[in-house]
Symmetry: C2
Subunit: 193 residues, 2 copies
Protein backbone atom coordinates (compact mmCIF):
# COMPACT_ATOMS: atom_id res chain seq x y z
CA UNK A 1 0.00 0.00 0.00
CA UNK A 2 1.54 3.30 -1.06
CA UNK A 3 0.90 6.31 1.10
CA UNK A 4 -1.17 7.84 -1.71
CA UNK A 5 -3.77 5.17 -1.03
CA UNK A 6 -4.59 5.49 2.64
CA UNK A 7 -6.66 2.54 3.89
CA UNK A 8 -7.10 1.22 0.36
CA UNK A 9 -8.16 -2.18 1.66
CA UNK A 10 -10.86 -0.79 3.93
CA UNK A 11 -12.13 1.51 1.18
CA UNK A 12 -12.33 -1.38 -1.25
CA UNK A 13 -14.22 -3.51 1.27
CA UNK A 14 -16.67 -0.70 1.94
CA UNK A 15 -17.18 0.03 -1.77
CA UNK A 16 -17.63 -3.66 -2.59
CA UNK A 17 -20.24 -4.19 0.13
CA UNK A 18 -22.16 -1.10 -0.94
CA UNK A 19 -22.25 -2.26 -4.55
CA UNK A 20 -23.13 -5.87 -3.67
CA UNK A 21 -26.12 -4.55 -1.74
CA UNK A 22 -27.16 -1.99 -4.37
CA UNK A 23 -26.83 -4.15 -7.49
CA UNK A 24 -26.22 -7.66 -6.31
CA UNK A 25 -22.94 -9.53 -6.03
CA UNK A 26 -23.10 -11.12 -9.49
CA UNK A 27 -23.77 -7.80 -11.19
CA UNK A 28 -20.82 -5.96 -9.68
CA UNK A 29 -17.57 -5.96 -11.68
CA UNK A 30 -14.24 -5.37 -9.95
CA UNK A 31 -13.75 -2.24 -12.07
CA UNK A 32 -16.74 -0.61 -10.40
CA UNK A 33 -15.59 -1.54 -6.92
CA UNK A 34 -12.24 0.08 -7.60
CA UNK A 35 -13.89 3.11 -9.16
CA UNK A 36 -16.30 3.57 -6.22
CA UNK A 37 -13.34 3.39 -3.85
CA UNK A 38 -11.45 5.95 -5.95
CA UNK A 39 -8.74 3.39 -6.71
CA UNK A 40 -7.54 1.39 -9.72
CA UNK A 41 -8.32 -2.23 -10.55
CA UNK A 42 -4.62 -2.90 -10.16
CA UNK A 43 -4.82 -1.74 -6.57
CA UNK A 44 -7.87 -3.96 -6.03
CA UNK A 45 -5.91 -7.00 -7.16
CA UNK A 46 -3.00 -6.08 -4.91
CA UNK A 47 -5.37 -6.56 -1.98
CA UNK A 48 -7.81 -9.26 -3.10
CA UNK A 49 -7.58 -12.23 -5.48
CA UNK A 50 -11.13 -11.64 -6.73
CA UNK A 51 -14.41 -10.03 -5.74
CA UNK A 52 -15.43 -13.03 -3.65
CA UNK A 53 -12.28 -12.71 -1.58
CA UNK A 54 -13.43 -9.28 -0.36
CA UNK A 55 -16.12 -11.09 1.60
CA UNK A 56 -13.97 -13.92 2.94
CA UNK A 57 -10.56 -12.41 3.58
CA UNK A 58 -11.61 -11.94 7.22
CA UNK A 59 -12.37 -15.65 7.71
CA UNK A 60 -8.70 -16.58 7.78
CA UNK A 61 -7.94 -13.89 10.35
CA UNK A 62 -10.88 -15.09 12.41
CA UNK A 63 -9.59 -18.67 12.40
CA UNK A 64 -6.16 -17.43 13.52
CA UNK A 65 -7.74 -15.49 16.35
CA UNK A 66 -9.65 -18.59 17.45
CA UNK A 67 -6.58 -20.81 17.28
CA UNK A 68 -4.59 -18.29 19.35
CA UNK A 69 -7.36 -18.17 21.96
CA UNK A 70 -7.40 -21.98 22.25
CA UNK A 71 -3.62 -21.98 22.69
CA UNK A 72 -3.82 -19.20 25.29
CA UNK A 73 -6.52 -20.88 27.41
CA UNK A 74 -5.16 -21.92 30.82
CA UNK A 75 -3.92 -25.51 31.09
CA UNK A 76 -6.78 -26.28 33.47
CA UNK A 77 -9.38 -25.27 30.87
CA UNK A 78 -11.36 -28.18 29.43
CA UNK A 79 -11.49 -28.54 25.63
CA UNK A 80 -15.02 -27.08 25.62
CA UNK A 81 -13.83 -24.14 27.78
CA UNK A 82 -10.99 -23.54 25.33
CA UNK A 83 -13.24 -23.37 22.28
CA UNK A 84 -15.74 -21.24 24.21
CA UNK A 85 -12.90 -18.78 24.83
CA UNK A 86 -12.08 -18.88 21.11
CA UNK A 87 -15.67 -18.11 20.11
CA UNK A 88 -15.79 -15.35 22.70
CA UNK A 89 -12.73 -13.76 21.10
CA UNK A 90 -14.33 -14.08 17.66
CA UNK A 91 -17.58 -12.61 18.97
CA UNK A 92 -15.68 -9.54 20.15
CA UNK A 93 -14.53 -8.88 16.59
CA UNK A 94 -18.02 -9.49 15.16
CA UNK A 95 -19.60 -7.13 17.67
CA UNK A 96 -17.11 -4.34 16.95
CA UNK A 97 -17.96 -4.54 13.25
CA UNK A 98 -21.70 -5.10 13.79
CA UNK A 99 -23.22 -3.26 10.82
CA UNK A 100 -20.56 -4.46 8.43
CA UNK A 101 -21.04 -8.06 9.54
CA UNK A 102 -24.79 -7.79 9.01
CA UNK A 103 -24.40 -6.27 5.54
CA UNK A 104 -21.89 -8.93 4.56
CA UNK A 105 -24.20 -11.69 5.78
CA UNK A 106 -27.09 -10.29 3.76
CA UNK A 107 -24.95 -10.45 0.63
CA UNK A 108 -23.87 -14.02 1.37
CA UNK A 109 -27.37 -15.24 2.19
CA UNK A 110 -28.61 -13.95 -1.17
CA UNK A 111 -26.16 -16.00 -3.25
CA UNK A 112 -25.81 -19.79 -3.38
CA UNK A 113 -22.13 -19.73 -4.38
CA UNK A 114 -21.33 -17.46 -1.44
CA UNK A 115 -23.31 -19.60 1.00
CA UNK A 116 -21.25 -22.57 -0.15
CA UNK A 117 -18.05 -20.63 0.37
CA UNK A 118 -19.19 -19.78 3.89
CA UNK A 119 -19.69 -23.50 4.64
CA UNK A 120 -16.18 -24.23 3.42
CA UNK A 121 -14.73 -21.51 5.63
CA UNK A 122 -16.59 -22.91 8.63
CA UNK A 123 -15.24 -26.38 7.85
CA UNK A 124 -11.73 -24.91 7.77
CA UNK A 125 -12.37 -23.25 11.12
CA UNK A 126 -13.36 -26.61 12.56
CA UNK A 127 -10.16 -28.21 11.26
CA UNK A 128 -8.07 -25.37 12.69
CA UNK A 129 -9.76 -25.65 16.09
CA UNK A 130 -9.26 -29.42 16.17
CA UNK A 131 -5.56 -28.96 15.39
CA UNK A 132 -5.25 -26.38 18.18
CA UNK A 133 -6.93 -28.74 20.64
CA UNK A 134 -4.60 -31.61 19.70
CA UNK A 135 -1.69 -29.24 20.31
CA UNK A 136 -3.02 -28.93 23.86
CA UNK A 137 -2.97 -32.69 24.20
CA UNK A 138 -6.58 -33.54 23.41
CA UNK A 139 -7.09 -36.96 21.85
CA UNK A 140 -8.35 -37.30 18.28
CA UNK A 141 -12.01 -37.89 19.15
CA UNK A 142 -12.17 -35.12 21.75
CA UNK A 143 -10.45 -32.65 19.43
CA UNK A 144 -12.66 -33.43 16.44
CA UNK A 145 -15.92 -33.52 18.34
CA UNK A 146 -15.25 -30.39 20.37
CA UNK A 147 -14.23 -28.46 17.26
CA UNK A 148 -17.32 -29.55 15.29
CA UNK A 149 -19.53 -28.72 18.26
CA UNK A 150 -17.96 -25.27 18.55
CA UNK A 151 -18.75 -24.54 14.91
CA UNK A 152 -22.30 -25.84 15.44
CA UNK A 153 -22.71 -23.44 18.39
CA UNK A 154 -21.22 -20.56 16.40
CA UNK A 155 -23.59 -21.15 13.48
CA UNK A 156 -26.67 -21.22 15.70
CA UNK A 157 -25.68 -18.29 17.93
CA UNK A 158 -24.60 -16.19 14.97
CA UNK A 159 -27.87 -16.94 13.19
CA UNK A 160 -29.81 -15.85 16.27
CA UNK A 161 -27.73 -12.70 16.52
CA UNK A 162 -28.53 -11.82 12.91
CA UNK A 163 -32.21 -12.80 13.12
CA UNK A 164 -32.65 -10.80 16.29
CA UNK A 165 -31.35 -7.64 14.67
CA UNK A 166 -28.29 -7.74 16.96
CA UNK A 167 -30.50 -6.56 19.80
CA UNK A 168 -28.85 -9.07 22.08
CA UNK A 169 -25.05 -9.06 21.78
CA UNK A 170 -23.43 -12.17 20.33
CA UNK A 171 -21.44 -13.13 23.42
CA UNK A 172 -24.38 -13.93 25.70
CA UNK A 173 -26.05 -15.74 22.79
CA UNK A 174 -22.97 -17.97 22.54
CA UNK A 175 -23.04 -18.63 26.29
CA UNK A 176 -26.72 -19.48 26.06
CA UNK A 177 -26.03 -21.98 23.28
CA UNK A 178 -23.31 -23.71 25.28
CA UNK A 179 -25.68 -23.86 28.28
CA UNK A 180 -28.55 -25.26 26.24
CA UNK A 181 -26.22 -27.77 24.60
CA UNK A 182 -25.17 -28.99 28.06
CA UNK A 183 -28.82 -29.52 29.01
CA UNK A 184 -29.68 -31.16 25.69
CA UNK A 185 -26.72 -33.52 25.88
CA UNK A 186 -27.32 -34.60 29.46
CA UNK A 187 -28.70 -38.11 29.73
CA UNK A 188 -32.40 -38.23 30.44
CA UNK A 189 -32.73 -34.57 29.53
CA UNK A 190 -36.35 -33.51 29.89
CA UNK A 191 -37.73 -31.60 26.96
CA UNK A 192 -40.46 -31.55 24.41
CA UNK A 193 -39.43 -32.23 20.85
Amino acid sequence: MGRWEPNARGRLEQAALELYVERGYEQTPVAEIASRAGLTERTFFRHFADKREVLFAGSGRLAELCVDAVAAAPPTATPMDAVAAALDAAAGVFEERGDLVRTRQGVIDANAELRERELIKLASLSTALADALRERGADELTAGLTAETAVAVLKVAFGRWMDGGQERPLRPLLCECFDVLRTLSARGAVGAG
Copy 2:
Protein backbone atom coordinates in the same frame (compact mmCIF):
# COMPACT_ATOMS: atom_id res chain seq x y z
CA MET B 1 -37.06 -47.28 -16.58
CA GLY B 2 -38.11 -49.69 -19.31
CA ARG B 3 -38.03 -53.39 -18.53
CA TRP B 4 -35.21 -53.84 -21.07
CA GLU B 5 -32.94 -51.97 -18.67
CA PRO B 6 -33.09 -53.92 -15.41
CA ASN B 7 -31.57 -52.00 -12.52
CA ALA B 8 -30.27 -49.29 -14.86
CA ARG B 9 -29.81 -46.90 -11.96
CA GLY B 10 -27.73 -49.32 -9.91
CA ARG B 11 -25.64 -50.28 -12.94
CA LEU B 12 -24.96 -46.62 -13.72
CA GLU B 13 -23.94 -45.95 -10.12
CA GLN B 14 -21.61 -48.92 -10.12
CA ALA B 15 -20.06 -47.99 -13.48
CA ALA B 16 -19.62 -44.35 -12.45
CA LEU B 17 -17.88 -45.24 -9.19
CA GLU B 18 -15.57 -47.68 -10.95
CA LEU B 19 -14.59 -45.07 -13.52
CA TYR B 20 -14.20 -42.27 -10.95
CA VAL B 21 -11.74 -44.50 -9.07
CA GLU B 22 -9.89 -45.72 -12.17
CA ARG B 23 -9.51 -42.39 -13.99
CA GLY B 24 -10.61 -39.71 -11.60
CA TYR B 25 -13.94 -37.94 -11.43
CA GLU B 26 -12.95 -35.01 -13.65
CA GLN B 27 -11.66 -37.29 -16.39
CA THR B 28 -14.81 -39.39 -16.68
CA PRO B 29 -17.40 -38.30 -19.27
CA VAL B 30 -21.01 -39.37 -18.93
CA ALA B 31 -20.74 -41.22 -22.24
CA GLU B 32 -18.21 -43.62 -20.72
CA ILE B 33 -20.29 -44.22 -17.64
CA ALA B 34 -23.25 -45.16 -19.83
CA SER B 35 -21.08 -47.32 -22.05
CA ARG B 36 -19.52 -49.17 -19.11
CA ALA B 37 -23.02 -49.83 -17.76
CA GLY B 38 -24.11 -51.09 -21.18
CA LEU B 39 -26.66 -48.28 -21.45
CA THR B 40 -27.15 -45.10 -23.47
CA GLU B 41 -26.37 -41.53 -22.41
CA ARG B 42 -30.06 -40.86 -22.76
CA THR B 43 -30.76 -43.48 -20.12
CA PHE B 44 -28.11 -41.93 -17.87
CA PHE B 45 -29.87 -38.58 -18.03
CA ARG B 46 -33.21 -40.19 -17.28
CA HIS B 47 -31.75 -41.19 -13.92
CA PHE B 48 -29.24 -38.44 -13.06
CA ALA B 49 -29.01 -34.73 -13.85
CA ASP B 50 -25.23 -34.95 -14.25
CA LYS B 51 -22.24 -37.05 -13.23
CA ARG B 52 -22.02 -35.34 -9.84
CA GLU B 53 -25.58 -36.33 -9.05
CA VAL B 54 -24.60 -40.01 -9.21
CA LEU B 55 -22.64 -39.41 -6.01
CA PHE B 56 -25.23 -37.32 -4.19
CA ALA B 57 -28.59 -38.73 -5.23
CA GLY B 58 -28.53 -40.79 -2.03
CA SER B 59 -28.16 -37.74 0.22
CA GLY B 60 -31.76 -36.69 -0.29
CA ARG B 61 -33.02 -40.17 0.52
CA LEU B 62 -30.82 -40.20 3.61
CA ALA B 63 -32.29 -36.90 4.81
CA GLU B 64 -35.81 -38.28 4.30
CA LEU B 65 -34.93 -41.37 6.30
CA CYS B 66 -33.60 -39.18 9.13
CA VAL B 67 -36.64 -36.92 9.11
CA ASP B 68 -38.95 -39.96 9.25
CA ALA B 69 -36.97 -41.37 12.19
CA VAL B 70 -37.26 -38.09 14.11
CA ALA B 71 -41.01 -38.04 13.46
CA ALA B 72 -41.33 -41.68 14.54
CA ALA B 73 -39.43 -41.28 17.82
CA PRO B 74 -41.71 -41.76 20.83
CA PRO B 75 -43.22 -38.58 22.30
CA THR B 76 -41.15 -39.10 25.46
CA ALA B 77 -37.88 -39.03 23.48
CA THR B 78 -35.78 -35.91 24.05
CA PRO B 79 -34.67 -33.95 20.97
CA MET B 80 -31.18 -35.48 21.29
CA ASP B 81 -32.71 -38.98 21.54
CA ALA B 82 -34.75 -38.28 18.42
CA VAL B 83 -31.75 -37.23 16.32
CA ALA B 84 -29.73 -40.13 17.72
CA ALA B 85 -32.48 -42.44 16.42
CA ALA B 86 -32.27 -40.68 13.06
CA LEU B 87 -28.50 -41.16 12.82
CA ASP B 88 -28.90 -44.77 13.87
CA ALA B 89 -31.31 -45.31 10.97
CA ALA B 90 -28.86 -43.63 8.60
CA ALA B 91 -26.00 -45.73 9.94
CA GLY B 92 -27.95 -48.87 9.13
CA VAL B 93 -28.06 -47.84 5.47
CA PHE B 94 -24.37 -46.89 5.45
CA GLU B 95 -23.37 -50.21 7.00
CA GLU B 96 -25.41 -52.22 4.49
CA ARG B 97 -23.62 -50.47 1.63
CA GLY B 98 -20.21 -50.45 3.35
CA ASP B 99 -17.84 -50.92 0.40
CA LEU B 100 -19.81 -48.64 -1.85
CA VAL B 101 -19.87 -45.92 0.81
CA ARG B 102 -16.11 -46.19 1.23
CA THR B 103 -15.45 -46.00 -2.51
CA ARG B 104 -17.77 -43.02 -2.85
CA GLN B 105 -16.05 -41.23 0.03
CA GLY B 106 -12.64 -41.78 -1.55
CA VAL B 107 -13.85 -40.13 -4.76
CA ILE B 108 -15.31 -37.18 -2.84
CA ASP B 109 -12.24 -36.68 -0.66
CA ALA B 110 -10.06 -36.44 -3.77
CA ASN B 111 -11.99 -33.53 -5.31
CA ALA B 112 -12.53 -30.05 -3.86
CA GLU B 113 -15.79 -29.43 -5.73
CA LEU B 114 -17.22 -32.71 -4.42
CA ARG B 115 -16.10 -31.97 -0.86
CA GLU B 116 -17.96 -28.67 -1.11
CA ARG B 117 -21.05 -30.45 -2.38
CA GLU B 118 -20.85 -32.81 0.59
CA LEU B 119 -20.80 -29.84 2.99
CA ILE B 120 -23.89 -28.42 1.31
CA LYS B 121 -25.70 -31.73 1.62
CA LEU B 122 -24.82 -31.90 5.32
CA ALA B 123 -26.12 -28.36 5.81
CA SER B 124 -29.38 -29.42 4.13
CA LEU B 125 -29.57 -32.42 6.44
CA SER B 126 -29.22 -30.09 9.43
CA THR B 127 -32.04 -27.88 8.15
CA ALA B 128 -34.26 -30.92 7.57
CA LEU B 129 -33.56 -32.27 11.06
CA ALA B 130 -34.30 -28.88 12.65
CA ASP B 131 -37.62 -28.72 10.78
CA ALA B 132 -38.51 -32.23 11.96
CA LEU B 133 -37.70 -31.30 15.56
CA ARG B 134 -39.86 -28.18 15.36
CA GLU B 135 -42.68 -30.39 14.07
CA ARG B 136 -42.33 -32.30 17.35
CA GLY B 137 -42.72 -29.06 19.28
CA ALA B 138 -39.07 -28.17 19.93
CA ASP B 139 -38.40 -24.45 20.23
CA GLU B 140 -36.25 -22.68 17.66
CA LEU B 141 -33.00 -22.76 19.65
CA THR B 142 -33.38 -26.39 20.71
CA ALA B 143 -34.24 -27.49 17.18
CA GLY B 144 -31.35 -25.62 15.55
CA LEU B 145 -28.74 -26.58 18.11
CA THR B 146 -29.75 -30.24 18.29
CA ALA B 147 -29.77 -30.54 14.50
CA GLU B 148 -26.33 -28.90 14.13
CA THR B 149 -24.97 -31.08 16.92
CA ALA B 150 -26.33 -34.20 15.23
CA VAL B 151 -24.54 -33.31 12.01
CA ALA B 152 -21.36 -32.62 13.98
CA VAL B 153 -21.61 -36.07 15.58
CA LEU B 154 -22.32 -37.70 12.21
CA LYS B 155 -19.28 -36.05 10.61
CA VAL B 156 -16.94 -37.15 13.37
CA ALA B 157 -18.30 -40.69 13.73
CA PHE B 158 -18.42 -41.21 9.98
CA GLY B 159 -14.81 -39.97 9.67
CA ARG B 160 -13.73 -42.42 12.37
CA TRP B 161 -15.61 -45.23 10.64
CA MET B 162 -13.80 -44.50 7.38
CA ASP B 163 -10.38 -43.95 8.99
CA GLY B 164 -10.71 -47.15 10.97
CA GLY B 165 -11.30 -49.20 7.83
CA GLN B 166 -14.86 -49.90 9.01
CA GLU B 167 -13.44 -52.36 11.53
CA ARG B 168 -15.81 -50.99 14.13
CA PRO B 169 -19.37 -50.61 12.84
CA LEU B 170 -20.73 -47.09 12.52
CA ARG B 171 -23.54 -47.45 15.05
CA PRO B 172 -21.38 -47.91 18.16
CA LEU B 173 -19.10 -45.13 16.89
CA LEU B 174 -22.13 -42.82 16.83
CA CYS B 175 -23.12 -43.86 20.36
CA GLU B 176 -19.57 -43.24 21.53
CA CYS B 177 -19.65 -39.73 20.03
CA PHE B 178 -22.91 -38.88 21.79
CA ASP B 179 -21.45 -40.20 25.06
CA VAL B 180 -18.22 -38.24 24.69
CA LEU B 181 -20.17 -35.13 23.76
CA ARG B 182 -22.20 -35.48 26.97
CA THR B 183 -18.99 -35.64 29.01
CA LEU B 184 -17.36 -32.78 27.10
CA SER B 185 -20.41 -30.56 27.50
CA ALA B 186 -20.85 -31.19 31.22
CA ARG B 187 -19.86 -28.22 33.36
CA GLY B 188 -16.48 -28.65 34.99
CA ALA B 189 -15.70 -31.58 32.72
CA VAL B 190 -12.28 -32.96 33.56
CA GLY B 191 -10.03 -33.47 30.58
CA ALA B 192 -6.67 -32.63 29.13
CA GLY B 193 -6.67 -30.37 26.11
